[in-house]
Amino acid sequence: MMRLSPRDNVAVALRPLKSGETVTLDGATIKIGRHIAVGHKFAARAIDKGEIILKYNCPIGTAISRIAPGEYVHTHNVESNYLPTYQLPDNPNEAK
């Protein structure tokens, strides 16, 4: 696991994380909500709907729903502040 900057509200999985697994991030224990692949993100703390997502201490989008600590953070709960993210219709990332 890696938080790229101390202020980030998301962290990056450096190895595949299993659903229900607990990880330690800066001394805090976080229970992982579901399988998270390498490079994908999870919430490092509770994130409110409308809150800016910070990675590398830079905004990468806005939460469109409340996100619990350890929950997978991706296109199902985050939107770009610039241009929408295009995905193939039969390839929902939430299913992975």
Binding site: M2, V12, L14, A37, V38, G39, H40, K41, I53, K55, Y56, C58, P59, I60, G61, V73, H74, T75, V78, E79, S80, N81, Y82, L83, P84, T85, Y86, Q87, L88, N91, N93, K96
Partner: protein
């Protein structure tokens, strides 16, 4: 010290390629048939498919056919297309390179045009390949960088490692070019803070704002479904990773396709057309951008990939830096550098950066890249339109 091919304009190439260029899609087959027997022997196929004239594509072809890695050019015209073949031939001739234009209609059709083209290459290529090499410094290199098939590991390993290599190249006096404004959306303020002067900073912001508007009109960001599969959620997250390719150096200027940086340093390539949205997506794939980096004088291209791109390019060698350790295991034959070792704790960022820097020099000395050895010579050129660079864009 490298060994390069000295050209009449003083620039040096790290390859000595004869290009066969079709000037409209109608001449593509004939050009490919001419080039195919020689494709392992230093003959690369490039071309422009459109029949309507376009100053951008003419300028691109002029820069590509007189690129330091190119030693001669065979132009293949159908005969009735709008491409200004006479101007292109004059430009190549004035550069001191051998050039011939074959008109398929004038030559008497497909069979005769293919025979005439192969005859000319048969005479020209052996002499061109005897071009002697001369010593060449790193400060005579221009290196372009691109990322393609990015995933969430690209911004953690390969892109920052290429940034380290860029910093080393800049310190040695090389010219370096990073791209692309559509994948720097969200980075405009960070970039402006690194500009050599405030006026350039404003130009950098303007170029990204132009890209955001352009892509918004088209309805899609420069973002492929595979980027999201790989863990990238938004264009600004992808941009953060892409931006890391530029390293830490001061940004010295902005170039547009075909503009050769005037002196050493770090330059942003603005690939998004000026004016109203006219010809569709700025770059329809990675090779469109690679061709533009080459037209700006890049003799070597650094290409980072997480999902696993396999492309190379005509004219310039492409070094593939693989960001994702799993992708590297699957596609090792296509990858020159395993930057995923950083993620696995088997190497540090500075180590991989240095490895890329060393490889640039070996490739500059003739060592083939993986994509070159596999025969990759992708090329694409489409319609665009640009206005001249603003006065603050280049260093004085």
């Amino acid at each position: 010290m490298l060994q390069g091919y000295l050209r009449a304009d003083g620039r040096k190439g790290v390859r000595n390629v004869l290009v066969v260029a079709y000037l409209v899609e109608c001449a593509h087959h004939v050009a490919r048939e001419i080039a195919t027997p020689y494709r392992e022997g230093g003959v690369h196929l490039i071309g422009f498919p459109g029949c309507y004239p376009n100053p951008y594509s003419l300028g691109m072809m002029e820069k590509l056919c007189t690129h330091p890695n190119v030693g001669g050019a065979l132009l293949v015209s159908l005969g009735c297309e709008g491409f200004d073949k006479r101007r292109l031939a004059r430009t190549i001739e004035a550069s001191g390179r051998p050039v011939l234009t074959i008109g398929i209609q004038d030559t008497g059709g497909t069979r005769r045009a293919i025979a005439a083209g192969r005859d000319w290459i048969g005479e020209t290529l052996p002499e061109m390949l005897r071009h002697p090499t001369v010593p060449m410094g790193i400060d005579e290199l221009t290196v372009g960088t691109i990322c393609g098939g990015s995933d969430a590991t690209s911004g953690l390993t390969a892109n920052p490692a290429m940034g380290v290599a860029f910093d080393l190249l800049v310190a040695e006096g090389a010219k370096t070019i990073f791209e692309e404004t559509g994948e720097l959306i969200g980075m405009e303020h960070l970039m402006a803070a690194r500009a050599a002067n405030p006026a350039l900073g404003e130009e950098l912001k303007r170029s990204v704002a132009k890209a955001a508007t352009y892509y918004a009109t088209l309805g899609y960001a420069s973002f492929a479904p595979g980027n999201a599969d790989g863990g990238l959620t938004t264009i600004e997250e992808k941009s953060l990773g892409a931006y890391a390719k530029s390293g830490q150096s001061t940004i010295d200027g902005i170039v547009k396709p075909g503009v050769v940086p005037p002196r050493k340093g770090l330059y942003l390539l603005d690939v998004v057309p000026d004016g109203e949205v006219r010809f569709g997506f700025p770059n329809i794939n990675d090779n469109a951008e690679i061709a533009e980096l080459i037209a700006c004088g890049s003799q070597v291209i650094l290409f980072s990939t997480g999902r696993g791109s396999v492309v190379g390019s005509a004219i310039a060698p492409v070094i593939k830096v693989c960001a994702n350790p799993d992708t590297y295991k699957r596609m090792e034959d296509d990858m020159d550098v395993d930057a995923g070792r950083i993620l696995e704790g088997r190497a540090t960022l500075p180590e991989v950066g240095r490895e890329i820097y060393d490889l640039v020099q070996r490739v500059g000395n003739g060592e083939p890249t993986k994509s070159e050895a596999l025969g990759h010579q992708e090329f694409i050129l489409t319609y665009k339109s640009f206005e001249p660079l603003g006065p603050a864009c280049l260093p004085v």
